[in-house]
């Protein structure tokens, strides 16, 4: 056996997802658990592709109301106003804070859409057993995992605005359904990224080499 050329999966070794301990798998074995931490053992995350798809599709569905419906309702003596994510960005831009407009645009519009597309690309490539650039795809996966949380930005902005401009006599701000949908998109894409198993990216290439 040549350590450094072969994967744990090819050797039939389970690598515990939680504590990284290796264990030999017995043929026909079911429900193996890690002898150190008791976590269930699998060669790959179970049903990784199907689960990633499930969360992704749910995220795509919520993505529409998240962008179309208002995330914030403002009412004041001067009238009522409903803000979507995009109109919030435009407002920041118009009021001269172009740098913040850019930050919110990246966190709330660019990152969630790019993340959905990137995850879709990764699952499709894994399903087709693509051998194209596993390193680049692994890097893409790392970026997706790293940036996902930053999309919560707009939810926090709405939350603080609601809290501050609540009992004011001049105006009230309330969170709209768009905020619920947007929060859902962020959570669902994070779950999709967690269910995706990056080792599947490398498997076809390794089989090819024999």
């Amino acid at each position: 056996m040549n350590v450094g050329d072969i994967t744990a999966g090819q050797m039939g070794f389970y690598a515990c997802h939680v504590c990284n301990l290796l264990a030999k798998s017995e043929p026909g074995e079911h429900d193996a658990v890690c002898r150190r931490c008791g976590s269930p053992l699998h060669l790959r995350k179970p049903d990784s592709v199907a689960r990633t798809w499930a969360f992704l599709i749910a995220a795509y569905i919520l993505f529409v109301p998240a962008n179309v419906m208002p995330i914030m309702h403002t009412s004041s003596l001067f009238g009522a106003q409903a803000d979507t994510i995009m109109s919030g960005v435009i407002y920041l831009w118009m009021s001269g804070s172009w740098h913040l407009a850019l930050v919110v645009f990246i966190a709330s519009i660019l990152v969630p859409s790019a993340k959905l597309l990137a995850l879709t690309f990764l699952v499709v490539s894994v399903q087709r057993r693509s051998t194209w650039e596993p390193m680049q795809r692994t890097k893409l996966y790392r970026v997706v995992e790293f940036v996902g949380r930053w999309s919560m930005l707009d939810i926090f902005v709405v939350a603080i605005l609601v809290a501050l401009v609540h009992l004011q006599s001049l105006a009230t701000i309330e969170a709209g359904f768009g905020a619920v949908a947007f929060g859902g998109v962020v959570v669902l894409t994070m779950l999709a990224a967690m269910e995706f198993d990056p080792r599947l990216i490398w498997d076809p290439k390794r089989v090819q080499h024999g």
């Binding site: 990284n20 290796l22 913040l100 692994t138 996966y141 930005l153 939810i155 603080i160």
Partner: protein
């Protein structure tokens, strides 16, 4: 071959030999360069120090107002809890729960459980339930979003600046100090070291 002398990369599954590390070195996967494990000199002491500092600032960040707003003599301040409360009262329970979970519950669990693990380890004892706690810490970590929340506060300050007089509260500064401490704690923490301690004693 002894299985415990090997490690599989969690991102590409390549089997590699474990090598002893020293001086804060990091072991990376030969194939995909993922971090496999690292040596953290005085890791337990350092992580514990950062964690206790974070606990202190986290309490302040939760107890004191983060931002305040003044309109025609009316002052309104927002604490973290007040923010969640206002959303909940508006019938946005989902958003309120999400904010509470990512800014209060997850960071609190992260800080308290780390301290719970590390204080006994400091005296060479293993805390009861170390295994489920380590497992849980791994699950809760991605949902703790303190740094994103701070950026959210800054964006809302700018949005309100045009409408009213806004002032920053002590809570905001505590949040700003909390973030580098949490990053430092995560950087000094070596779960691999604790797992090895657990398997030696059991």
């Amino acid at each position: 071959m002894e299985l415990s002398s090997l490690i599989a990369c969690h991102e590409c599954d390549l089997l590699q030999r474990r090598v002893p590390l020293a001086g804060g070195a990091v072991a990376c996967c030969r194939c995909c360069h993922a971090v496999l494990y690292r040596d953290s000199p005085n890791g337990i002491d350092r992580t514990l120090a950062y964690t206790l500092g974070a606990l202190f600032l986290f309490l302040i960040a939760n107890l004191y107002p983060i931002v305040g707003l003044e309109v025609q003599g009316n002052r309104q301040v927002a604490t973290l809890y007040g923010t969640v409360h206002a959303l909940w009262n508006d019938g946005r329970e989902e958003v309120a729960s999400l904010v509470a979970f990512t800014t209060m519950v997850s960071p609190a669990l992260e800080i308290i459980l780390l301290a719970y693990l590390l204080i006994p380890l400091r005296f060479n004892r293993i805390a009861e339930g170390t295994i489920p706690v380590l497992r849980f810490l791994q699950t809760v970590k991605p949902w703790s979003m303190t740094e994103v929340f701070l950026l959210g506060v800054l964006v809302s300050l700018v949005k309100l600046e045009h409408l009213a007089h806004v002032e920053t509260g002590i809570g905001l500064w505590a949040f700003a100090g909390l973030i580098p401490l949490l990053i430092a704690a995560a950087g000094a923490f070596s779960p691999d070291e604790i797992w090895n301690k657990v398997s030696r004693t059991s």
